[in-house]
Subunit: 340 residues, 2 copies
Amino acid sequence: MGGDHGPSVVVPGAALALERKPDSRFIFFGDEKAVAPFLDKHPALKAASSIVHTDVAVRMDDKPSQALRQGRKTSSMWLAIDAVKNGQADVAVSAGNTGALMLMAALNLKTMAGVERPALAAIWPTSRGESVVLDMGATIGADGRQLVDFAVMGSAMARIVFDVEKPTVGLLNVGVEEMKGIEQVKEAAAILRAHDSDLVYHGFVEGDDIGKGTVDVVVTEGFTGNIALKTAEGTARQIARFLRDAMSSSWRAKLGYLLAKPAFDALRMRLDPNNSNGAVFLGVNGVVIKSHGGTNAQGFAAAVEVGHDMARYELLAKISAGLQTYDRNRDSTAVGAAQS
Amino acid sequence: MGGDHGPSVVVPGAALALERKPDSRFIFFGDEKAVAPFLDKHPALKAASSIVHTDVAVRMDDKPSQALRQGRKTSSMWLAIDAVKNGQADVAVSAGNTGALMLMAALNLKTMAGVERPALAAIWPTSRGESVVLDMGATIGADGRQLVDFAVMGSAMARIVFDVEKPTVGLLNVGVEEMKGIEQVKEAAAILRAHDSDLVYHGFVEGDDIGKGTVDVVVTEGFTGNIALKTAEGTARQIARFLRDAMSSSWRAKLGYLLAKPAFDALRMRLDPNNSNGAVFLGVNGVVIKSHGGTNAQGFAAAVEVGHDMARYELLAKISAGLQTYDRNRDSTAVGAAQS
């Protein structure tokens, strides 16, 4: 029921995802009267789907606490997460209210053993391809240990998305020199440096390294991560607007635009945020995917596919294995050294 | 001597600035042998200039502490700042090492009465025009009071740059709802809301509001501000690269590009960071301007002009007046309320 367009995007999106991942099966949680008509248009999807009816839906502008009060155990969002908890589903995908989704997932699925704070990880298009960037705002602030958890969880995700053995990881900072930045980041750096693990610690990276694709995984706490993501989105929209203005500024420009239209279309595709849709809520006992609320069917399908792969290639097991490398007890020396 | 190009950009930049602000007078601090030949090429500038020779120059990759140790009282950077302190100059402009410039300015000029932390404020091109964004990384972290100081200092600068009486000010946050974000930001919001002053407090803004130009002044602490700025720069470069790729991807695209070239040139101009060059180091007893190290003469001239206007329209007096509104004693109630 979530997102700006509800089942009119979610159902066709699922149909697209099914074409690409034919082993998928779907359970739609929501108002049967709203969902069924869309499902009727996609017979192959209908054959692979069931509907669990509920009248209750979290609204996009509900505060998370309010959504929880009104929708606990009854809303489509809660029931979808509950299906993951009960093993009926491997993945929950929602285009709905981000804060409510994270709160319900954390409460119902609980955080994984060894993880203090979950994180929302986005797939960020770069000049080199894509990178995983986290935390996009699941929690505000993170100490050194929690940043290391983010590095481990982001690496587990990157291993699946990019099909690499040892993803490179950078800590987002205001400079690349060792003495720069806030204490928490320096502490995380000391821990990451001190361990041999299934990730390659690259060092500090700066804001412009995200777009360059300097590393596979960029780690930061949620306040900065959220602001970096939205600043980048805002900059992209601003430049797109400037480009539109320029291309309609004269008849020569308009003619040039028409001639180059296939190239502009390819550029638009390359910049289309729907291509990299599907943020992963990492650190809870289940796979929960957040789709952009404003996405189209193509974008929702991308989010479903991310979820499919996270389940198929065992995200949770990969995270657990990664966390063991940085096991609390064995860390005490490294952390002591970092804090001194 | 600073920046990637030294006097070969600084001197022609000053010449351009002199054309636009004919009442300017220049003192060049640096190696006379390096500066004089460039000055000879600009007779009008030469007539309005003097050179103070020194052999010592801060290098771009010096650590600030190292630059201070080696260049205190002797380097061109220190001497330029010293000229502001001694009243020989109204403004110091440097394209050199940012960290060294801020450290030397803070040490030599001292922070203004009532200001705990200085801030580096950039002029950020937006869809609506330009905004002042601070802190770009002068200090890491800021409490609520310090964020209020940033708001006051940024407003004083915005009043000059945009020629408005009451600039609108937004606090950068992860959401616009009152209960969102980190404590420091909420505390600053409470103080700003509680006072009638010569700025209009807009409320929280998000990362994408910077590019939209939602407010005249965007306030955040230095860690997040630095990362937001560099992320935006990185995104702009990334899209420019994608656009170049697209426009050379086929003969139709190349032809279209040629036809639309004047529009592309105008777009390039609009996106040219040299146009909005000149960050202001706010909160010290003097006007200090940081130019991009990689800028061209046009960009350096822009930085000089920013400095000219900051001096001419009395930035420091405007900041002092603004700070009085939020005078420490009168604030105790509002802050108490915000912290409770």
